[in-house]
């Protein structure tokens, strides 16, 4: 499907979708609480079939966090970017690791570095940092006077 066709088709699936302009691919903001059902539909719907989640990341906007999911269909070769706004003090979103299994590691990384809690994740522990590490280093307000060198 082309980007234009995706833009027409998506609101049928997700009525509350808000598009963001610019960028190479269609970027859609979804409600964090509805993400799980949307993800299931995006994966299984005949017209979309987004079976390949190639990048999961989080961005700290100081007022809120944004989860960013990059999806591609290996059948139709169309791509989509899904974003979900999260509360910075209590970031919570449903896991999609049962839909795309690559998400298991990527979500653990986002939990490790941003503190996003993925509900119903099978094994939510720190991945890269030690278990007793304090704080979430990729947040903008993270301070470490010993190890961090500011340029």
């Amino acid at each position: 499907m082309t980007n234009e066709a995706l833009k027409i088709k998506l609101p049928e699936l997700i009525p509350s979708v808000v598009f963001e302009e610019g960028g190479e691919w269609i970027t859609a903001f979804v409600d964090a609480s509805a993400w799980k059902t949307i993800a299931q539909q995006l994966r299984s719907n005949e017209d979309f079939q987004f079976d390949y989640l190639f990048c999961v990341t989080c961005v700290d906007w100081k007022t809120h966090l944004t989860m960013v999911y990059h999806l591609t269909s290996t059948i139709y070769r169309h791509s989509l970017v899904i974003k979900a706004k999260l509360d910075r003090n209590n970031p919570e979103i449903e896991t999609v690791s049962d839909i795309w299994r690559t998400a298991e590691f990527h979500e653990r990384e986002a939990y490790d570095l941003f503190g996003v809690k993925f509900l119903h994740h099978p094994d939510l522990r720190r991945l890269l940092l030690t278990d007793d590490f304090d704080g979430y280093p990729l947040r903008k307000d993270f301070e470490d006077p010993i190890n961090m060198i500011k340029l």
Partner: protein, 385 residues
Amino acid sequence: MYRETQIIKHAQKASSNGGNLEEAGDLVINVGPQHPSTHGVLHLVITLHGETIKNVEPHLGYIHRSIEKMCESLSYRQFIYVTSRMDYLSSHINNHGCAMCVEKGLQVEIPPRAKVIRVLMDELTRLASHQLWWGAMAMDVGALTPFFHAFREREMINDIMEETCGARLTMNYMVPGGVMYDIHPNFQKRVKEFIEEFKKKIDEYDELVTGNIIFQNRMKGVGYLTKEDAISYGCTGPTARGSGVSCDIRKLYPYEVYDQVQFNEIIETDGDCFARYLVRMQEMRQSLSMVEQLIDNIPEGDFQAKTKAVLKLPKGEFYSKIETARGEFGVYIVSEGGTTPYRIKFRSPGFSNLSALNHMAKGYKIGDLVAIMGTLDLVIPDIDR
């Protein structure tokens, strides 16, 4: 890093998810972080029943440097140099991916000469990386000689790189707008010498290892990964192509001059270790043919487009992907319009490939784990970042 009690606790917790693993005779062992077959500081906690693997749990982060955070305080020219330290076996291609992402933001068209030089360097890097993998792979399963053969030819590429880029591993040759310097006057001559030499040697590689019955017994029917699982785990590169997934970025989303050179995307459908091995062996021949096609056709002209001294990306998001020796390497830059990236994310191929390891190794013998890890071609700094 992890106290022993914690390791056992974690392993038990993880293994309890996979079914009834509490039965007598289960053994939890650690492979790594210092172990010859992990090729770096990777720590695996393995639950065994007899010799059969029940669960493999990777513990990462022994070489985590938080490169993503570091990049947030580096300018768009500087951050590319840090990426050489991620996948140190294909640092050219990492640099290339980052340079492409910055160029996408700046909307700079790079000169044709730079494009061809970039592709040549990428393919030479891929050859060097696959050569090292081949030697290490054979060494992992017990054959030491191939390692020396592979390093002998790899040395020729390293010498070529050293002459033009001034470095053997961390090249830092790609810059936004093109390449840093023009190629060395000897470059074409030496690459041609290498092509002649390696054409003979790659047949020798096949004679030495590929047809060896002991080697085939170790590789065939081990570490199966189906096509659906490969996609679901986000595997890319030769790992996924060995399972029949068409995922070569050079073919699907051609960049630079990949749409003008003749090459085949190598796909094997068996999905076992031997299929992944064959993909990489044939990819070496494809890379060699690409280098051969381009080496006499480097266009004259500038090697770098004119760019400002201080780069500023417009507000927005940029994503570029590139095929490294291990798979799809993605760079995601969020820009606020300043001279440094607001947020940068590197989607490294090894990270996703490693996540499939537990699925692939379950049910096989512990000796097979080494073969499975070998065909994943893991580079640990690329996974930990």
